[in-house]
Symmetry: C2
Subunit: 485 residues, 2 copies
């Protein structure tokens, strides 16, 4: 699937036609004005765009996509441009148009009986959260880029975050979708039905397809009631196996109360306490590993504090945890979360580091940590593994900090050895090479070995069927077809 | 897409080849022995089969499907054969093979930390529930056919049931799938990852595709802890609008506690009390409508009874409900559910009736009931609308019983008028013509008007891409392509 260059109309003609369709406010051209749209958030990719196009409605987008399809113009959907894998960045050809839906930024409706929000693709996740809160509800999707990330991109990449073990990923919060398909046709799937078995799950297919199968234009999102009580606790554990036991205990009692379960290694916590001013460990002594957990309920009379004390008391008695502290105030809760959130910065201060955002079945997290630690220490003696993250989802940031005294460049020169070492173990444990961030243009090369055979073949068939000219976000998700694959 | 008749090998040769592949135990032939596989559960469809084939493993199925594909043999997957829409019944040509996975009936693994069950397609839903319970967990999927329905079919049709408002449909309980694709290739998606953004959601596409895109062979299901406290209550309300307010109140307090919310009309309840011996209304007087709700929690110390009394007390005080009774014992709880479960039988005793299994957004349930009641009463004066069902999901069984004294046949002769009257209102309210049962071969004709345009076009493209010879369950879900559609 290669795209033949547009013959007629030529570049200026195309821009004139875009301007006819969208008005001057809908068309941005020129290297300077389009520059910020052509570079990804991590500054890994630098592309060029024929134009940046900003339709104001589904109808405008539909006509635009139909036009691009007819004239073989490749299209790159872009939301907040916060992709970690170059998923929204055009290539260097200058033939692609970037299409942004930031002018489609209305929250159309919040229904207090359905607990739903009808929202356009260009609304930022933060604005959506705020609107839900003002209406008395919660949109339980939170990621660090939420101030910039837009709903369209959040859904196209099936975003995750801290609270997915309780509320699910973006996918689980979507009841209905409207989308413009690669030929310009509009998929009118803006339904808010809990039960609807009428054909193939197009909504599910579009979610997580990273803009390669169409443009998500509007969504119906599922809201939840706001928690009325929250309890956060930091627990000391001997190892990840003990953390897993604690998770099992909490889930057996009531999984609906558990909204965060974060693992931290002793090494990582030491770096935070030693390198980040103002942090202290609110426990008697340092431990080999820690869990930060958060319980929450919308129920006003749930005695959540008592419940937290009971369950942690039992965990202490059974020897699952060795110490625990429950936050006594909102300030203390913020302090506990600071210990978790400063991990990235502490690791940066400790030296060069290599990051792996991987997931495995929750049961296998201890084995992942043990095996990857041993393997990396064997690879580079003195290396400092500091795994942490969303253990409740099996999603561990397996980060490794350079040995003390080693030259950072020498360490970083081993990056691929380290990543391959971790990846091999993740693969053996039936894990994923991209837990949250997707494939984008950074990782399609990994698809054949991780998702190959009938799975990748089916993905290719679907892509070719819905986008036969390969005009929707080309080069993303699927690797190029090469002879023999 | 039409299938050309197999030329070579001929019918007997094919059966010999099947026997080579599967052994004699894997092949059933002859009209008598295949009869029960060729008739649907409702006795609406009567087909014929070249053979009924029972592979014992994914590998055997894979080779079988590849063979059928190469020799243009159409394949009809069949689980417990409990489809309500003829979804698993072969056509009358005698050219199709029925393929059953009932020999693949192992529960491979229950993981208490992951709260997952790895299970083969041929296990009945009831056996899966029992195994989960014995391991101390709950598989929260329950349908009336669960004694016969098999996991493969349950997932292929995205089954629903009574407790979906709390735990979701079948789709929400599936973490991973293995499937044999139409060309015989094996999709190795038996993962149990909560976060995995690596390409298109094939798992989601297969769920609900009713066997038209491949065979589901094994699944990883999500388990939940068993409830340790359950409270059931019957409430009297003035109308569906009041029932909706009660639902809103319960959801605002804590949606995680609400596991059933069933609406019943006064007309339907009167029929139950008047026509089913041993039923009594445990309230002071009869009401225009009722809600049967059930609260549950795995938390041992949740004071659920006190919570139920509080919330229903508030609902009484606010005038949302006019009366309520909470079951004092398991026997009383069973008695309350009997009032709900005997609706179908009571309606049968009251005369001929017409059934509509529809869904609308939860907010629109009152409007559906009001408008459809008025429209049907106008159509046939004296008709007795008795809507009831899963109001928490927006899924109402809008059933209508004949006027007293009318000849049943005369009433049933108006079935299509009645169904069309209800369907027109459901459609205006953005509802679904098949909430739970799927499309099968009964309802493909409704797809163009309800799911037409870009949506049906995309479904057709996907079907053609994955099953270009249209050999997987032909004639199901998608209507035949006719000129102009």
């Amino acid at each position: 699937m290669t795209v033949s260059p547009p013959t007629t109309p030529a570049r200026q003609d195309l821009i004139a036609r875009f301007t006819d369709m969208l008005g001057p406010v809908g068309v941005i051209t020129g290297e300077t004005d389009t520059a910020s749209y052509c570079t990804d958030w991590r500054n890994l990719y630098h592309g060029r765009a024929l134009a940046v196009l900003r339709p104001a409605s589904t109808e405008e987008l539909s006509r635009l996509v139909q036009f691009c399809n007819e004239h073989d113009v490749p299209m790159v959907p872009q939301g907040g441009n916060t992709s970690m894998v170059g998923g929204a960045t055009p290539d260097g050809s200058g033939r692609e148009v970037v299409i942004c839906l930031s002018r489609m930024n209305r929250i159309r409706n919040i229904d207090p009986n359905d607990l739903t929000m009808e929202i356009e693709a260009g609304v930022t996740l933060k604005a959506a959260q705020d609107a839900a809160r003002e209406a008395g509800f919660m949109l339980p999707l939170s990621i660090s880029s939420e101030g910039s990330a837009q709903i369209g991109g959040v859904l196209a990449t099936n975003a995750g975050g801290n609270n997915t073990l309780r509320y699910g990923n973006a996918r689980e919060l979507v009841l209905g979708l409207e989308a413009v398909m690669p030929d310009g046709g509009v998929f009118h799937g803006l339904r808010r039905l809990r039960k609807d078995n009428t054909g193939y799950a197009l909504r599910q297919l579009l979610i997580g397809s990273e803009g390669t199968l169409g443009f998500i234009t509007t969504a119906i999102l599922q809201l939840h009631p706001q928690p009325r009580a929250i309890e956060a606790a930091l627990c000391a554990v001997d190892d990840a196996q003990a953390a897993l036991k604690l998770l099992g205990l909490l889930r057996a009692r009531d999984p609906a109360l558990l909204q965060a379960f974060e693992f931290m290694s002793g090494t990582g916590m030491d770096m935070v306490i030693d390198l980040i001013p103002g942090t202290t460990l609110p426990l008697g002594e340092r431990a080999p590993a820690y869990v930060l957990l958060e319980l929450a309920t919308p129920r006003p009379d749930a005695d959540l504090r008592e419940y937290a004390e009971d369950v942690l008391g039992d965990a202490l008695e059974e020897g699952i945890i060795t110490d625990a502290v429950i936050a006594e105030s909102e300030g203390q809760r913020t302090g506990l979360w600071k210990l978790r959130e400063e991990h990235a910065e502490a690791q940066r201060r400790a030296g060069a580091s290599v990051k792996n955002d991987v997931s495995v079945p929750v049961t296998h997290v201890p084995e992942l940590i043990t095996r990857a630690t041993v393997a990396c220490e064997k690879l580079i003696p003195g290396i400092r593994p500091a795994p942490f993250g969303h253990m409740g989802d099996g999603n561990i940031h397996f980060n490794l900090v350079q040995p003390e005294g080693m030259a950072p460049d020498a360490f970083l020169a081993r990056s691929h050895d380290i990543m391959n070492t971790v990846a091999a173990i993740v693969k053996e444990l039936d894990g994923s090479f991209s837990a949250e961030h997707g494939v984008g243009q950074l990782k399609p090369y990994m698809m054949p070995s991780w998702r190959g055979g009938a799975e990748l073949a089916a993905m290719r068939h679907i892509k070719a069927a819905l986008d036969p000219k390969n005009l929707m976000n080309p080069g993303k998700v699927l690797p190029p077809v090469t002879p023999g694959t």
